[in-house]
């Protein structure tokens, strides 16, 4: 079928669009909005590979320390001003400015300089080699803003949108509806198909689901596992289940008792029935993971040995570690989202026969952030999928990872990750990442029980709707309504 033009797509979501400031936003419903309104230099495609966006093409130096991007010609911001290299430079300088809170900074901190060679060419020099740089420039918070906007009052970035994306902001009501309309000057000919996209906020999940099923909402941005079956079996609805590398992980600090002992960490790993966890908590909508932080979507992911539920073995390991009578532990979970506490409670029950007497302590998210996160010794964390192996490791596990929270600090691991990022030769990278994963699986910094699928749903008349497992890129310019 040829795509039909026109129509308004109504998307429902359950978390607020609190800000439209590209540099710092992080809400699940904020990403689709900036994905529509802004373009990055590059963008992650549905195949998880970097694809051209504002940059039509790019090339890197063999040692992966210099990257040059060639911008598309004739692109304009929504207000009509041309988008040029100086806008790109201004955006990246803002990201790297320590006085400006920017979420992409930790992924792009290897940049040494960024310069405009001419109006349409930008060159990045890196402090250290970094092969995945075009993936980093696709970071969802690294969309290109106009130099003028960045020079002005940054408070305006929260509400005023001036991007180069397929849709323009029409109205923004953070409490209810955010509406974007077609950008007729979008740089891809013939797109977008839709006249407008509306984001409708339903803070209560039950209300959201009911409205999707019986109201005039076209897309439900995020579907809860509990509702998936009901939604997917409803007539006229396409439910979409995208396998993803999103996971809940159990954080066990290496520098605190009793998890300083590998045998205790292993004991806990064997005390968890991963398939049952998937069935109970995810309603089967996920895959058991065996503590590898990389899911099968990653290119360099190794075959990971399965850990079967074996309380006896866990008990033995505990005894070996000097806890023959079992262990009493406090496991902390934030109450948002509920999955953290659910996994914690399931782990508590499963680990009982192995001699773990776990007391689950759930607390409000703010208290958790203030008091437990990156401070506590044994708690539940929850992370989305990262675009690359390097981003994943550098987020959490290397010694200078942005959110290093285990105290693992393994020099060998750091070196392997460093080796993987500094070469563009595939075999060398595969080798380094394989060793890094093996080391991680042996040392067991986290228990990762499953990968959670990303669930979304659309009405049958919605065509071309898909999303990326990272859940930050939505390709709504491809969507059209078959009505």
């Amino acid at each position: 079928d040829d795509p039909k033009m026109g129509g308004t797509l109504k998307i429902s979501h359950s978390t607020r669009i609190a800000t439209l400031n590209v540099l710092s936003l992080s809400g699940p419903a904020e990403y689709p909005v900036i994905d529509m309104a802004y373009s990055g230099l590059t963008r992650i495609g549905p195949d998880s590979q970097p694809m051209p966006d504002l940059a039509a093409s790019w090339e890197g130096s063999p040692d992966a320390t210099e990257f040059t991007f060639h911008l598309r010609e004739g692109v304009t911001f929504h207000d009509g001003t041309p988008a040029t290299a100086s806008d790109v430079v201004a955006t990246y300088e803002a990201i790297l400015n320590p006085d400006i809170p920017a979420s992409a900074a930790s992924v792009l901190n290897m940049i040494d300089t960024v310069e405009a060679i001419d109006d349409l060419t930008v060159k990045f020099s890196l402090k250290t080699p970094f092969a995945d740089f075009p993936t980093s420039t696709a970071h969802a918070n690294a969309r290109i803003m106009s130099e003028e906007a960045l020079a002005g009052d940054h408070a305006l970035l929260d509400t005023v949108v001036n991007g180069t994306g397929p849709f323009k902001m029409e109205s923004y009501d953070s409490a209810r509806i955010t509406r974007l309309v077609r950008n007729d000057d979008y740089f891809i000919e013939g797109k977008p198909h839709l006249d407008a996209v509306e984001m409708h906020l339903f803070p209560d999940l039950a209300a959201e689901t009911t409205n999707f099923l019986s109201g005039d909402i076209d897309v439900m941005l995020l579907v809860q596992q509990a509702d998936y079956e009901r939604i997917s079996s409803a007539p006229g609805i396409n439910a979409l289940r995208v396998p993803s590398g999103r996971y809940v992980n159990v954080v066990m600090r290496f520098d605190q008792e009793p998890f300083d002992d590998l045998r205790v960490r292993e004991a806990l790993a064997y005390a968890i029935d991963r398939q049952l966890l998937v069935d109970l908590v995810l309603e089967g909508l996920g895959r058991p993971a065996h503590d590898n932080i990389l899911s099968p979507e990653f290119k360099f992911r190794i075959d990971t040995p399965e850990k079967s539920y074996d309380p006896e073995r866990a008990k033995a390991l505990l005894a070996e570690a000097g806890h023959p009578d079992g262990l009493k532990l406090d496991l902390v979970a934030s109450n948002r989202p509920a999955i953290r506490a659910q996994v914690a409670i399931a782990i508590k029950q499963m680990a009982l026969p192995a001699g773990f007497d776990i007391n689950v302590e759930t607390m409000p998210h703010d208290t958790y952030l203030a008091n437990v996160w990156r401070k506590g010794g044994f708690y539940m964390a929850y992370w989305g999928m990262q675009p690359t192996e390097d981003a994943t490791f550098n987020l959490l596990l290397t010694s200078n990872a942005s959110y290093e929270d285990t105290g693992w600090m393994n020099a060998e691991f750091d070196a392997l990750v460093q080796a993987g990022r500094s070469t563009t030769i595939e075999s060398e990278r595969a080798d380094a990442y394989t060793k890094a994963q093996e080391l991680m699986l042996a040392e067991l910094p986290y228990i990762i029980a499953f990968y959670e699928d990303v669930l979304t749903a659309s009405k049958e008349h919605v065509q071309g709707y898909t999303l990326n497992p990272i859940n930050r890129y939505f390709y709504l310019e491809n969507v059209w309504l078959d009505e």
């Binding site: 609190a18 400031n21 940054h154 906020l201 009911t210 109201g215 208290t367 008091n371």
Partner: protein, 316 residues
């Protein structure tokens, strides 16, 4: 009711509000976590949090922040929301009107339903009608809003019936029909508990009035029962009912928080929960101020209404 009395009452309201804001401000400062931490969430490195605090002005001493805020209030400026990056007056203003539309709908229907119910129960004391109204009001008064709301959702908005939208909001200006269909369930949730309470109060006031000497005297003048009820009994039992309704407005303002959250009603209650979760102090302060003011003014208004209904009451 003199002008001086009104002025004194209003002054007292202002005084109270001042104390309230100060208390709220002081407590937030003592506790861990602030808007910067909440905004950045798990992506907040120390540097990012520090940068965010600088941007939001949270790095200043608390009393400076408070004085700054109070100064703003005196100039009519409620400040900037920390999380929503919009002027507080805009955010809270919009939410206020949305809440008001819900609260007024709920209160109006409650008043229209509860008072006749209570009167009916009092007149028909001891009959089946009284019993049914009594049972209804006990059940109503014992169901927390979130339970009522959930049950209404299951049964009236669920896939089986789907009579009403399960949540959301259409402003009456946009489409009156849309507003009405959306307002039914939240208003019913809020209304149930209030109807229960108010009808019970009206019943007991009315019963008391009906057993009073002057009602007996009116009946012994040979007046028809209709006139006895309408002209003699009702005005006398309405004044206490108004007092109860005004107290219940405090309850309504609390209930609205939960109901708005569940039914996705973009009002003050939902905004408050959001602001609390995000430690968005200026918004919390503004909402507290608004709700307390509304409550205080509704009490004042009810005193005025009572003074009109009951000629004995005089405020000086």
């Amino acid at each position: 009711m003199t002008l001086g009395y009104l002025v004194r009452r209003l002054l007292a309201v202002v005084l109270v509000l001042f104390v309230v804001t100060f208390a709220v401000f002081a407590i937030t400062m003592i506790l861990p976590g602030n808007a910067a931490v909440m905004i950045l969430g798990e992506y907040g490195t120390e540097e990012a949090v520090a940068a965010m605090e600088r941007r939001l002005g949270l790095d200043r001493p608390w009393y400076i922040q408070y004085l700054d805020w109070i100064g703003g209030i005196l100039r009519g400026d409620l400040g900037q929301s920390l999380r929503l990056s919009l002027p507080v007056s805009d955010v809270v203003g919009d939410a206020f009107w949305n809440s008001a539309s819900l609260a007024v709908t709920a209160l109006a229907s409650v008043t229209v339903i509860a008072i006749p119910l209570g009167v009916l129960a009092a007149i028909k004391r001891g009959t089946v009608a009284d019993l049914v109204i009594g049972i209804f009001s006990y059940i109503g008064a014992s169901m927390p809003e979130f339970v009522t709301a959930t049950l209404l959702l299951i049964f009236l908005a669920g896939p089986a019936l789907g009579l009403f939208p399960a949540g959301g909001f259409v402003s009456p200006g946009e489409s009156l029909g849309g507003f009405s269909s959306h307002v039914v369930l939240p208003a019913a949730t809020l209304g149930l508990i209030l109807t229960a309470h108010i009808s019970r109060q009206v019943r007991s006031e009315m019963s008391e009035v009906l057993s009073s000497d002057y009602i007996r005297a009116a009946r012994l003048k040979g007046l028809r029962e209709r006139r006895v009820i309408r002209r003699h009994a009702l005005p006398n039992s309405l004044a206490p009912a108004v007092a109860v309704i005004s107290l219940d407005i405090g309850y309504l303002l609390g209930g609205i928080i939960v109901v708005e959250e569940i039914f996705a009603w973009p009002g003050l209650g939902r905004l408050l929960i959001y602001a609390l979760e995000n430690r968005d102090l200026p918004v919390i302060q503004a909402i507290t101020l608004v709700l307390a003011t509304v409550y205080a003014l509704s009490n004042l208004l009810s005193d005025i209404v009572i003074a009109i209904l009951d000629p004995r009451v005089r405020y000086a």
